[in-house]
Symmetry: C2
Subunit: 697 residues, 2 copies
């Protein structure tokens, strides 16, 4: 599953520090900006010239799932298609002890049955504006890094607030090329999002962890939602028409989605940090979480349900990271990285125009060392690995909101900016279920982790545990806090600092007890990031001048256009065909003896004889995609939907660092599989008709 | 499952550093030496006076499984009973792709069907001799620690060799009280050990990881072997008679087995090292292994079979360590530890007799710091976490055997002593199956771990990987080495250094490439251990003088006697009865919906109506047991077998550090359950008759 790593998206900090990416010639490479599309490349290689209208339509038919994925509008009545595993967060939250929608699926036979999600926010990118000059003008060259960071944060807040006030649209300034450019993205937000259809997880994620990131595959990884406005299905101007034929071998296809983060042209120092520190650290954390959640889930069916989505996310991240680390440990990659860096450094050294970039690599390396020293404490205190549970996150938000909201907008911690307020409140007041036992489990483990990392005698640990064991402390905190009550949260949020202080809520007081250190270490990291941002901007400018501007920035979980062809590949001397079929699904289940996760849902066993087994199920293409692209529509030259991205193969896991099309492939569900299954397996003809434009909702 | 941690027993180093233990008054505490039994305590508390014959009989009816557990003779024809999970290592090795004995069980209907194990060695303790004076006499007070270590190793080798030559018995000098005493243990070895009976793992380990270390429990955790001599069942002088009634509530019982390691009176500095460094490190490694093996096993039925025993061991250690760490992080424990240490230090300070012990705690703390600095490298290189696969272990043994065997016996690395040669060769020439893909999996992960820990640019990592990625390197090493061939191993072992050098086997060359560093770091650790040993001996002497000698040493995986009563306990305001029944087994499966690991074997579903459901299945007692006691016989005052230890409850996991009988309990299978199940579920009347003394084999 190629969702963005929610581990990180939950944290305040972007843990990866990206650099400028250059397109190699005539490969199907690139995660292109919609306002800087690869026109020349498409023309030259495929003799295809997308019109502005074509691009604009695809852009506005694309949907971002803020829980960490992509999707698209597939009817004029607000129907949105994404992956089952992108919808998983919403499915999990809708479940209760009598309903395991994430495992068992859901189908609304009428509009009235569509189930409103607790806190799902969908974004549609409406416009892009380059605000680089204004951002950079606010940062004076004589400012020390601390000042520069504050000045940049302030001007970004101003730009966003002005835009929000003027347009009413969610407005985010996005840092591209590691600081080489700043673009203002305006999004239409949808927050009344209702669940329409999800298949059983058995078929959506057939093969489970063992087959995740593998190919051939046989997954119906789809999920449908509908956006509402004013209590009615929203009327959507841009939506994708359904291709009746679907994707065909060797066909040129496009993917419009939200790749999370790439790190393709980090400096060598940054890459080595990822290889030697960040990836190992992250994997150790994921291993720990996977074991914890698996063991908890094994104790009862209900436990398994409660931990289900988190566990899937952890397993998925773990497998993705393992692949990434294997790439980082490939000496050939490091050698090519070194060579490229040396070449650019040499070019920079030879031209006085780039004098200011000459020591940029050293400045980045120095900043990276400071980050490396402080990152462990940052992860514990600020990213919250030391207090990893929902209730702590809520408590900290309440504590900090009280401190930050009275400040001028430009001086607040970035997550408390006015431009992000609506989204923050959607999360803070979410009615999603919170389970005491699960919170205790996670918090006790996390407090143990804190004690392990700092040592039990560290003053922070002693202050946090107040003479109790991690298990005792977690139990009492979860039991005694009132922040699980949404009304209480609203009261404190609206009551401000006086209300928060007066509440003396134990979880809020815990957040307060570590807040000074958490903010301090965050400031250190943010300052070093500013140093790197400036250095990267100088490198980027030199690279643009030397290598040309027909390129794309590293991924930033914002909308990008990728392209490629539907194409198999060779592996271990054998050809892997580009496409699988329903017949292959049944065969794969049979060869594994039907044992989980290769078991088929009852419905699929019964429906077999009603299916055309030659119907394509999954296919692969050379499109340049990564985590976050899950749920991205795959369209043909006519802009018709021919499939939906749901994964990459094992060989694609290095795409975080470099593009390769020898074996790396994007995996998609074929459009034919979707309508065929909806009609023949689920009897969901209304939904299939809506997709195929035969009827309205 | 309370097996000893094979993670550690495979390594050359004892990772825990024990100290003197004092018995608190009139608790059911203690892992007593058979030559220093708790006569006074038993007399005072239970008015029971075991005769020397009673003790000698129990001692010689007890069996040590060198793969990490305990057992007992239960017939005069060499029948040995242990736990299924103790037999697991042998069951795993006997399996192949068509036979999953570990999962499915085994039953030999005739002697001829009994299956010889690949490399199982059983030991019976025949005699104990105190050699403290001779060991200490060899170490002069003016020796520096390096010399002292060598002198002590030399004299121990001499003592063992003399004893072996004179008696033909395996002779081990065991360090007790951390160096306070040295006893020579002589064992009769059995190496022709055949599998007689194992139930399905589903019933032996019913409830799996979720119910492991929990109570109430419903596990038939048994396994039977038979020892042979000269191709015939051995005639056994001491074996345990079967009690027809089995254990009863409030009955005094005894446990004779091999607790692995306790750490009850480590100094505070050593405990803090365990809490802040060793346990977290070990848990991180176990998490990593658990995820690796689980993911591998999920890919196919055959993979699952190959990884099965390792995975069970890892999960078991993980759960045990989690419990241990929770105990270490309990401030009440640390406070009592501090108080006890302060009291003893004060007593020592006040009496000039103990002048040499006054700074012993500081010397231990200093040595612990050096160990702490070097332990990470030691774990990677010498304990082999950087090269964690069977083939590397074999290769290193061949390499080192060639270097060590020409040396005088007393100067060799301890594992190459003549006294241990037979056991070493049994392992080295084991015909157990080795799977290339599994070896590659483990080695690739382990090389990745090495690179993560040292950094990819570390000279050792570069030397090990020779410009390849960990996966590539592991693949070629496993593919190209010949040490998987037993005949090749024999040739090299017998051919000595010339043969080993000439072979240029890539895995042996890998071992050679890190051997200098591995030996160097081992020497550092061994020297510091000698420093600690001397300091602990001084503390021990003072403690004996001040607190009395009626005590027991920390566990050392040698035979100990524990005692207690069959007794339930209170938990969360409810009473947990001391005993469960077959009825409870079926109920537990039902309440979990029969989902794994709460599913019942087909045979048990069918046999239900034939069973007396009120038959006791498991019971608990206050006996002081830990990992390594698995399979220990539980006997009554008459020396009759009333049960077999198989686990401790969650509350018992702190027994590594201190004894408590409020809730901590030893778990055992009731003797009645065993014969009842053998007859009614398995139709194994011959075996049941042999146990009950109704017939010979």
């Amino acid at each position: 599953m190629i969702i963005t790593n929610r581990l990180h998206s939950k944290s305040g900090l972007t843990a990866l520090f990206l650099t400028l990416a250059a397109a190699t010639s005539l490969a199907d490479e690139g995660m292109w900006l919609f306002n800087q599309p690869p026109r020349a490349l498409l023309k030259e290689k495929y003799n295809f010239e997308p019109s502005t209208a074509w691009l604009d339509h695809l852009q506005q038919a694309s949907v971002r799932f803020n829980s960490g994925g992509s999707g698209s509008f597939v009817s004029e009545d607000g129907l949105v298609m994404s992956n089952h595993h992108v919808g998983a967060d919403a499915l999990q939250k809708l479940g209760d002890k009598d309903h395991n929608y994430l495992r068992d699926g859901f189908f609304a036979r009428t509009l009235a049955e569509e189930k409103r999600c607790h806190d799902l926010e969908l974004n549609v990118l409406v416009s892009i504006e380059d605000v680089t000059d204004r951002v950079n003008a606010a940062v004076k060259t004589d400012m020390i890094p601390e000042q520069a960071f504050l000045a940049r944060r302030k001007v970004i807040a101003e730009i966003e607030k002005e835009s929000l006030d003027r347009t009413g649209l969610r407005s985010d300034v996005v840092t591209l090329y590691q600081g080489g450019q700043y673009h203002l993205y305006r999004f239409k937000r949808y927050t009344d999002v209702r669940l329409v259809f999800a298949p059983e997880q058995q078929i959506a994620f057939f093969g489970g962890d063992p087959d995740n990131f593998e190919y051939p595959r046989y997954d119906l990884d789809i999920c449908f939602f509908r956006v509402y406005e004013n209590g009615k299905p929203a009327r959507i101007p841009h939506w994708l028409r359904w291709s009746r034929a679907g994707a065909a071998e060797n066909e040129l296809i496009f993917v419009s989605g939200h790749p999370g983060r790439t790190a393709r042209l980090l400096t060598l120092a940054e890459i080595e940090y990822q290889r030697d520190v960040l990836f190992p650290e992250t994997l150790a954390w994921l291993h720990r979480r996977e074991v914890l959640l698996t063991a908890y889930g094994a104790r009862s069916e209900e436990n398994a349900r409660r931990a289900r989505d988190d566990l899937l996310g952890v397993q998925n991240s773990r497998k993705a990271r393992e692949g990434g680390l294997a790439g980082l440990l490939d000496p050939a990659f490091i050698a090519s990285k070194q060579a490229a860096e040396r070449a650019l450094k040499n070019a920079v050294a030879q031209d006085p125009k780039y004098a200011n970039a000459r020591d940029a690599w050293d400045r980045i390396a120095a900043a990276q060392r400071v980050i490396s020293e402080n990152a462990p404490m940052h992860r514990l205190l600020e990213s919250g690995r030391g207090f990893n549970c929902e209730l702590f996150g809520i408590a900290r938000t309440l504590l900090r909101a009280a401190d930050e909201r009275p400040k001028p907008d430009g001086e607040r911690l970035s997550e408390f900016r006015e431009s992000g307020r609506a989204s923050l409140e959607l999360n803070l007041f979410s009615t999603k279920p919170i389970y005491d036992d699960y919170e205790q489990l996670c918090l006790a483990d996390s407090l143990t982790f804190l004690a392990e990392r700092l040592g039990a005698r560290h003053p922070i640990v002693e202050r946090v545990l107040v003479g109790k064991s991690p298990r005792q402390r977690a139990a009492e905190l979860v039991k005694d806090t009132k922040v699980k009550d949404v009304a209480f949260r609203r009261k404190l949020y609206e009551g401000g600092k006086a209300a928060v202080d007066a509440a003396r809520d134990p979880m809020i007081e815990l957040a307060r007890a570590v807040d000074a250190e958490a903010r301090a270490v965050r400031q250190i990291i943010e300052t070093q990031e500013e140093i790197k941002r400036q250095a990267h901007a100088q490198i980027a400018a030199a690279r643009f001048a030397i290598q040309g501007t027909s390129t794309y920035p590293d991924a930033t979980f914002t909308l990008r256009l990728a392209f490629g062809v539907v194409k198999g590949y060779d592996e271990n001397g054998k050809h892997v065909p580009c496409q699988t079929t329903f017949a292959g699904l049944y065969e794969r289940s049979r060869e594994q003896g039907g044992r989980p996760p290769f078991d088929l849902p009852e419905r699929w066993i019964k429906a077999r004889r009603r299916l055309d087994l030659n119907t394509p199920l999954n296919f692969v293409s050379t499109a340049d995609i990564i985590g976050g692209n899950s749920g991205s529509p795959v369209v043909n030259k006519n802009g018709e939907l021919v499939g939906i991205i749901f994964d990459g193969n094992i060989q694609s896991l290095v795409l975080d660092f470099y593009y390769t099309e020898e074996q790396a492939r994007a995996l998609a569900v074929h459009s034919s599989a979707i309508t065929h299954a909806l009609r023949r397996v689920y009897g969901a003809n209304r939904l299939a008709d809506e997709l195929e434009g035969r009827r309205r909702r």
